[in-house]
């Protein structure tokens, strides 16, 4: 039997808004994925470490504090350094449209902004998992 898709839902930085992260985590679990939620205040190093330890296919980060341009690319680079380039990296939260191209260029596969349905996140993961 094929292994279930494993997703790390992570909260980088100091942001305490976790409604979205928890709702997404639960929706992904209900969609049949294995979901690990890091809890709040994770450094990029902690997130990359958890991704490696848990051997996940997807890292989904949520951030509403405006620190995404600093923190998301850091996680991407740390994952690459750990030879986890095949991990699908997603971001979500209050992220202005203007920042999205830069984040994608940095290696975040998709950014989900407010109003996104959890179903569309599930679909995206299924379609893009490596």
């Amino acid at each position: 039997m094929q292994r279930r898709i494993r997703v790390l839902v992570a909260k980088p930085g100091l942001d305490g808004h976790d409604r979205g992260a928890k709702v997404v985590a639960r929706a992904l679990r209900d969609a049949g994925f294995e979901v690990i939620y890091t809890g709040l205040r994770q450094t990029p190093e902690q997130i990359a470490e958890a991704a490696l330890e848990e051997d996940v296919n997807v890292v989904a980060m949520s951030l509403l504090s405006g620190a995404h341009n600093t923190l998301f690319p850091k996680v991407v680079n740390l994952l690459r350094a750990k030879e986890m380039s095949d991990v699908l990296i997603l971001g979500g939260g209050v992220i202005p449209d203007a920042d999205i191209p830069g984040l994608k260029q940095a290696g975040v596969a998709e950014i989900f902004t407010p109003g996104t349905s959890t179903a569309s996140i599930v679909e995206f993961i299924k379609a893009n998992i490596k």
Partner: protein
């Protein structure tokens, strides 16, 4: 009144007639309430006992006798970003525009007790609020603002004692003594554990810091609201209206119990407790929620804690419109949402209000958007007539039945939390967090299944261009703060500071000592927030969150 039996018959007849028309004109699905409310929904209703008059127990109709006929609620826009200089400019702009109180937003490193040059602050400095590292920043933040005249609310929790001390110190430099200061610190750690996330220390030392503040202010800063017990963030995290006030009042009970246990007389501090509600989309449910919350708190304080001063019975409340109900899609629509939420808060009898700006699902608000949000309050105040009569909804069958229902469900939760061992234990066990998460998930699924329509999000969508003119916080703020800190550390009297920090550490180890004077001493010699919280972290340790999905 018409005989009850006759009225029941008429209601049955009405409902039969209505049912017959359903084949032709079906009602909308998912309507939770009965079709219509009548005197039958208010059986046993006693005006004097259940409502009374505005300004009298149980304060359902409002905490002041004349409410907005004299003075409107305080229009208090939550603001702060980047450096103290930029935020000071925004405050002075808002005061010029007719705002009547200040409300400070701090950045996350400040809220969690880290200096801007701490590696963990990387990328967060000045982002969601202003960066304050020391008294030097605070002096700039309130430059040319007379702290003897303005009232200031500070959204600060875990390090509230430090920011309050800085405020007192700035005022002193302006020649304003602490006994003249008016304002509020949020200082509500329990909802940080349950919903908002900016905790530092474990519950026990956190509760000590809070009771230290109650005691210090009752003697030295008598007009200061020492806590703003907050349902706002619980609601933002996804709770229902009932859960918002129930969990918050349960938190309030925990604070009062802690202060009494620390030896304070309930009437010495209870009059300075304040609350913070969310004004959500359902206008009438929200208005009823405000009314119900006042009745619950009045009963809690009078009956459970035996408070005798009427000021101790009053639930005074600041309100903010629901940020989580703003949509990134068609942001102009948010102005309408905020206007309705404002109506709800005013019909509910709030003492002060922040209205959100239309662009806040996308970024911090720009100046134009903030002005429109403030104007929304002014239009409701001056033009709508909603503020002309005290508690205009009273006596409506629906409103009173809803107020009763919300009150009863609130008591049910309080009983449940009492049985668990109180709010602190309920949070440590993750009960409150789980209840909130359940409601949040249910809401999201309703939206995704279109059982709940959000205009512009799951219906009435259009193709749109990205909104332009969003506020951007310059990435150089972090570097600027670092430079300011380096200069401060080189310039100040580090020996004097060391002595104060050692004294603070020693005091922190003795539970019986009030820490406020020690914190104030360290602040005055320009000890930084990170240094002071660092001392307390060493003594108190840090909170480990309970994570469950």
């Amino acid at each position: 009144m018409m005989a009850k039996e006759a009225l029941k018959d008429m209601l049955d007849e009405y409902n039969m007639k209505a049912e017959k028309s359903l084949a032709k004109n079906p009602e909308r699905q998912n309507l939770a309430q009965p079709r219509v409310y009548t005197p039958l929904d208010l059986e046993g209703f006693d005006y004097v006992r259940d409502l009374g008059f505005p300004g009298s127990y149980p304060y359902v109709r409002g905490v002041q006798p004349t409410m907005y006929r004299g003075r409107f609620w305080t229009m208090r826009q939550y603001a702060g970003f980047a450096t103290a200089e930029e935020s000071n400019n925004r405050y002075r702009y808002l005061l010029d525009q007719g705002q009547t109180g200040l409300s400070c937003a701090f950045d996350l490193p400040t809220q969690i007790g880290y200096d801007s040059d701490d590696p963990i602050a990387d990328g967060e400095v000045g982002k969601v609020g202003v960066a304050i590292d020391s008294l030097a920043d605070m002096e700039i933040l309130f430059d040319s603002i007379d702290l003897g005249k303005v009232s200031t609310s500070m959204t600060i929790n875990a390090p509230a004692a430090v920011l309050l001390a800085m405020y007192i110190a700035v005022a002193e430099k302006q020649g304003v003594s602490a006994d003249k200061l008016k304002g509020t610190i949020q200082n509500d750690i329990l909802k940080e554990y349950a919903a908002r996330g900016t905790y530092i220390f474990p519950p026990k030392p956190s509760m000590r810091l809070i009771t230290n503040i109650f005691e210090y202010c009752s003697k030295n800063v008598p007009y200061w609201n020492t806590i703003s017990i907050s349902g706002y963030h619980i609601r933002e995290a996804g709770s229902t209206a009932v859960q918002e006030i129930a969990f918050t009042i349960a938190d309030g009970i925990a604070y009062v119990e802690a202060a009494i246990k620390a030896g304070l007389n309930v009437d010495a501090f209870a009059g300075r407790l304040s609350f913070f509600w969310n004004a959500h989309n359902n206008v009438l449910e929200e208005a009823a929620k405000f009314r119900a919350s006042r009745r619950v708190w009045a009963k809690v304080m009078k009956e459970r804690f035996g408070a005798v001063n009427p000021k101790s019975w009053m639930l005074r409340v600041h309100t903010q419109t629901a940020g989580s109900m703003l949509t990134a899609q068609q942001p102009e629509n948010n102005i309408v949402r905020v206007a309705l939420q404002t109506a709800a808060a005013v019909l509910g009898g709030t003492q002060s209000l922040h209205t959100n700006s239309k662009d806040e699902a996308l970024a911090l608000p720009n100046e134009d958007a903030v002005r429109t949000a403030l104007r929304t309050q002014q239009i409701v105040a001056y033009e709508s007539g909603l503020a002309d009569v005290v508690d205009p909804l009273a006596g409506s069958y629906y409103i009173e039945a809803l107020t009763n229902k919300i009150e009863q469900e609130c008591w049910d939760y309080i009983k449940k939390i009492d049985d668990i061992g109180g709010a602190v234990v309920a949070i440590e066990k993750g009960y409150i967090q789980r209840e909130i998460q359940e409601s949040a998930y249910k809401w999201q699924m309703e939206v995704e299944r279109k059982n709940r329509v959000i205009v512009g999000v799951n219906q009435f969508q259009i193709e749109e261009k990205p909104l332009e003119g969003l506020l951007q916080v310059d990435a150089s703020v972090g570097e600027l703060q670092k430079k300011k800190l380096a200069e401060l550390r080189a310039k100040r009297d580090n020996n004097a500071l060391q002595i104060k920090l050692v004294a603070l550490e020693k005091a922190a180890k003795d539970e019986k000592i009030n820490l406020l004077p020690f914190i104030l001493d360290a602040v005055k010699v320009y000890g930084t927030l990170g240094e002071i919280c660092g001392v307390l972290r060493r003594v108190f340790g840090e909170y480990e969150a309970h994570v469950s999905l």
